[in-house]
């Protein structure tokens, strides 16, 4: 078992590009995804997986990194990008009935998708999505799959059948071990995600990309979507446009005014 090949699933999400303004649409207050990309936080998860498998001889040595996404047809972009960066194969769960699913329903479908991949050593996720930002999927997924979970890892090692992760708090750092198979979510401090190179871009075209519907996963429409969700977004509003700031003109007491302002905003 010492450093044998790993079978890793990385969750990747297609999210609106944070560089652009975001907008909410429809009664379910879903996010407009017209300018979307592979979530930057998921790039750390992918890098963590690739670093582990590279150290074990990569795909040639039988290591597998599956990039898994759930979302509409356009979400395939997140998987394609992952394949270009270095994932071995892609899995895209796409079904109209999934629209409006909350974290609970989403984790149900993701767990079912992971089960189709046979015995998996590690499921790696990012620390949050850069859109919904619930950070709850990793925990729900671990529970559904019966895996030990280590969340918010800022360093990750696998030795034999054990994964060791470092969690950094504000004033402490802890090391946590779990036996494989396990689920780990990594932070944006975990590594430096690589860029795809041109060879990777060309190679991605030949990699296996599977699309699955709910039926392929043995689920029905009522298990997911708004019907299968425990939560609904009852109201959401776009942030009001920024108003002009307060300008303090120094006539001797600017320091005091500044402190008063910060105190009023509960910043100090």
């Amino acid at each position: 078992m010492e450093n044998s090949a790993l079978n890793i699933v990385v969750l990747v999400k297609y999210v609106p590009d944070a560089q652009f303004d975001r907008h909410l649409i429809g009664d379910a207050h879903t996010i407009d995804r017209s300018e979307s990309i592979l979530s930057e936080l998921d790039e750390y998860a992918l890098e963590a997986a690739l670093a582990l498998t590279d150290a074990r001889g990569g795909a040639k040595a039988g290591n597998v990194v599956t990039a898994l996404t759930l979302g509409p047809a356009s979400a395939a972009v997140a998987v394609k990008k992952s394949l270009q960066i270095g994932a071995t194969q892609g899995l895209h769960v796409n079904d109209d009935a999934l629209a409006g699913s909350d974290a609970w329903a989403t984790s149900l479908a993701l767990a079912a998708a992971i089960k189709t991949l046979g015995p998996v050593d590690l499921v790696i996720t990012g620390m949050a999505s850069t859109d919904g930002e619930t950070s709850i999927i990793p925990a729900q997924l671990a529970a559904r799959l019966g895996l030990p979970q280590v969340t918010f890892a800022s360093a990750l090692e696998v030795d034999g059948g054990t994964v060791t992760a470092r969690r950094d708090g504000d004033d402490y750092s802890e090391e946590i071990q779990a036996s494989l198979p396990a689920l780990v979510s990594v932070t944006d401090q975990a590594n430096d995600p690589r860029y795809p190179n041109f060879k990777g871009i060309i190679a991605a075209k030949k990699k296996k990309m599977t699309t699955m519907s709910l039926a392929d996963l043995g689920l029905s429409a009522s298990d997911v979507g708004l019907a299968g969700s425990l939560t609904t977004v009852s109201a959401a509003a776009e942030r009001p446009a920024r108003t002009a700031g307060t300008i303090i003109t120094d006539s001797g007491d600017a320091g005091i005014q500044l402190v008063d302002f910060l105190a009023a905003q509960k910043l100090i």
Partner: protein, 387 residues
């Protein structure tokens, strides 16, 4: 109908380089420009991304892509940092390409893997103090003596010739002469690989340039510099013709870089025109500004179409010399015009060095001069018209 839409691979490459340019290159551009420092860390990162290997076969460490892939990468880099872009352009199209096109198997094996990985750079020494546009006036000489070329002369303005990772410069030199039927003398010009560190080969102090501050440019002198006979690159006497064909391709690359610069000026100007307020509105509200930027966008668009066309002709194996000359001229003028207009949009800030548009203003002028001046491009276009 022609179709200039990028396929999935080209688009992915372009997106990747754009991301790299914005997130890795742009944050250090102003500092390298101010300090006139060579961006070694960026060059090494570009090597990891495979950019130096784009148009070369995998056998020599390349990426198995093509010249258009290189051009797309140069456009994205040129948007934010012309010094970085020209370092890649010269590294690939002037440093490595002559060895790939004209080298022997042994020369390719010896030099290409380090060049295509970005671990090493090479220079292309054509221009001399007294021979630029009219590079055939070369006066550097190379005499074959006891199995060695003995080189004497000097070269002017040679890019990438003096970095810590520069391995050699390929120079043109007169290796003899033949008498034409009419009695006039024809110089025999050949190209020779001269490794840096060869005794008698001196890389002189860098220039104080107007722009491209983070790009490496030096005068070179050769005094009794000796290299083995097998350092001849390509056929003896074909050196000038070979170098001119390298420059034909290089013009597509420069056009792409210039298109990027022109687009970078548009992007900056649009952003600033929305942010900056005067007389109760953002300045983009006034047609004096918005029309200026609309014209800038049109120039960048035309420049891009011109280089896409020249590159697609080249890849299809058609003649592309005139189209490359047009693209180089149109794109470099677009860069210069857009840099001037973007600076105007920025007002006083446009005159401050650390602003990207100010850097483009200083950097863009050389695009109308290097790898063939605008006048040289016009000569080529006119010649094609039979004039």
């Amino acid at each position: 109908m022609p179709n200039f839409e990028l396929n999935e691979e080209y688009q992915a490459l372009s997106d990747m380089v754009r991301d790299f340019a914005d997130n890795v290159v742009a944050p250090v551009s102003a500092q390298h420009d101010a300090e006139h420092s060579f961006p070694y860390e960026i060059v090494s990162h570009m090597g990891e991304l495979g950019l130096f290997g784009l148009p070369f076969p995998e056998e020599f460490g390349g990426m198995g892509g093509d010249y258009f892939a290189l051009a797309l990468a140069l456009e994205q880099l040129g948007r934010v940092d012309q010094s970085v872009a020209i370092t890649l352009e010269a590294g690939v199209s002037l440093g490595a390409m002559p060895v790939h096109r004209f080298g022997t198997q042994a020369q390719k094996e010896a030099w290409l893997p380090q060049l295509t990985s970005g671990a090493a750079l090479a220079g292309f020494g054509l221009t001399e103090p007294d021979a630029g546009s009219d590079a055939g006036r070369t006066s550097t000489r190379a005499k074959l003596q006891d199995g060695e070329w003995v080189i004497d002369g000097s070269k002017q303005f040679i890019t990438n010739s003096g970095t810590d990772i520069t391995k050699f410069v390929t120079v043109t030199a007169v290796t003899g002469s033949t008498e034409r039927a009419d009695g006039t003398v024809k110089k025999e010009i050949s190209t020779i690989i001269v490794p840096n560190g060869t005794p008698g080969f001196t890389v002189e102090k860098p220039y104080g340039k107007v722009g491209w501050n983070a790009s490496d440019t030096h005068p070179l002198t050769f005094t009794n510099a000796r290299v083995p006979e097998e350092n001849l690159l390509g056929e003896r006497g074909r050196g000038y013709a070979n170098f001119l064909s390298i420059l034909d391709e290089g013009r597509i690359a420069i056009a792409a870089l210039a298109t990027g610069a022109a687009q970078g000026c548009v992007d900056e100007a649009v952003r600033y025109a929305k942010e900056r307020h005067a007389f109760g509105h953002n300045i983009g509200h006034y047609q004096g500004i918005s029309f200026k930027i609309a014209r800038m966008q049109s120039r960048a668009h035309l420049a891009r179409l011109a280089y896409y066309d020249a590159a697609s002709r080249m890849l299809a194996g058609k003649s592309f010399k005139t189209e490359a000359a047009i693209a180089k001229m149109v794109a470099s003028e677009a860069a210069m015009d857009n840099a001037r207009d973007a600076t105007q949009v920025f007002g006083g800030y446009g005159f401050i060095n650390e602003f990207t548009v100010a850097r483009h203003y200083r950097d863009s002028k050389i695009l109308e001069i290097g790898e063939g001046t605008t006048e040289v491009q016009l000569m080529l276009i006119a010649r094609d018209l039979g004039l």
